[in-house]
Symmetry: C2
Subunit: 129 residues, 2 copies
C-alpha cells in the first residue's frame, strides 16, 4: 500500500474517529515516519507542523489513541484512523473532541459540546500532547 | 469566527461526515472562497488542489452534500462538515465512502466495504465530481 505523501509536501491528513461511537475526535497530519511508528506501536503518532517533529498523542496527558483500524481513501492521500481513545477527551481545551464548536450561519462559533475534563489538571504547562 | 487558512498555505482540510450514520465519507480541502460558497449555497464546495479551482461535489454526478452543520476544531485549522449525502455514494470508484480500504498490519490495502453504484454509469468520462 503506497500512501501518497508527495501531494501534501510529505504529509497526509489523518482523521481520528472513535471506533465505538463514530465521533470524529481530531485531525492531525502524518508523514511516512509517523505512519510507520503508528503501525509499529499501535498508538497514534502524528507529525507536528508547528514543532516540525513526530509527536505521540497522549505522551504528556496519557490520553493515547489505540489504533483499531487504519483506512486509506481512494486517492491514497488521506487516512482515517479508527481508535479507542483512552481518557476523558483528546482536546487540550478539555473536550472529548477537538470539534466542539459549530460555525453558525452568521459566522460566529458556538460551543456545542460540554467539557469532559479540566485541562490545567492534565497538561500543566505543556499543552496538547 | 476566523478560520486559520494560513497554516496550510491557504487551505484547511474539511472532513465530510454523514450526519445520520456518523460515517466519515471523504476529506477535501477548502480555501476561504470554498468555505464561503459552501455556507452560501448550503452544499459542499471544495478547492481542488490538482485542478487549482473550486469544485462543487456532485456537480457532475448529482451526488451533492447538503450541509447540516459545520464544525471547527480548537486550533481553527480543520473543519468537520456534517452532511446529508444525496445518492448512493460519494466516491468516484463507486463506494459510499472514499475510505473503503483498510491497511492491513502487513501493509496491504484490503477493500472492506461493498460497492453501492457503478461509477461508469454515473460519471462517464469526467471523474470524481
Amino acid at each position: 500500500m503506497n500512501v501518497d505523501f508527495q501531494k501534501g509536501g510529505g504529509l497526509v491528513p489523518a482523521i481520528v474517529q472513535d471506533d465505538r461511537t463514530g465521533d470524529v475526535l481530531m485531525l492531525g497530519f502524518m508523514n511516512e515516519a509517523a505512519l510507520q511508528e503508528t503501525q509499529r506501536c499501535g498508538e497514534v503518532v502524528f507529525f507536528s507542523r508547528s514543532r516540525n517533529k513526530l509527536w505521540k498523542k497522549g505522551e504528556t496527558s496519557g490520553h493515547v489513541l489505540r489504533v483499531r483500524e487504519i483506512r486509506v481513501d481512494c486517492d491514497a492521500d488521506a487516512l482515517l484512523v479508527r481508535v479507542e481513545a483512552v481518557g476523558p477527551g483528546v482536546c487540550h481545551e478539555g473536550f472529548r473532541s477537538c470539534f466542539f464548536r459549530a460555525i453558525e450561519p452568521g459566522g460566529e462559533a458556538r460551543i456545542v459540546e460540554g467539557r469532559t475534563f479540566a485541562p490545567e489538571q492534565v497538561y500543566g504547562q505543556e499543552k496538547r500532547q
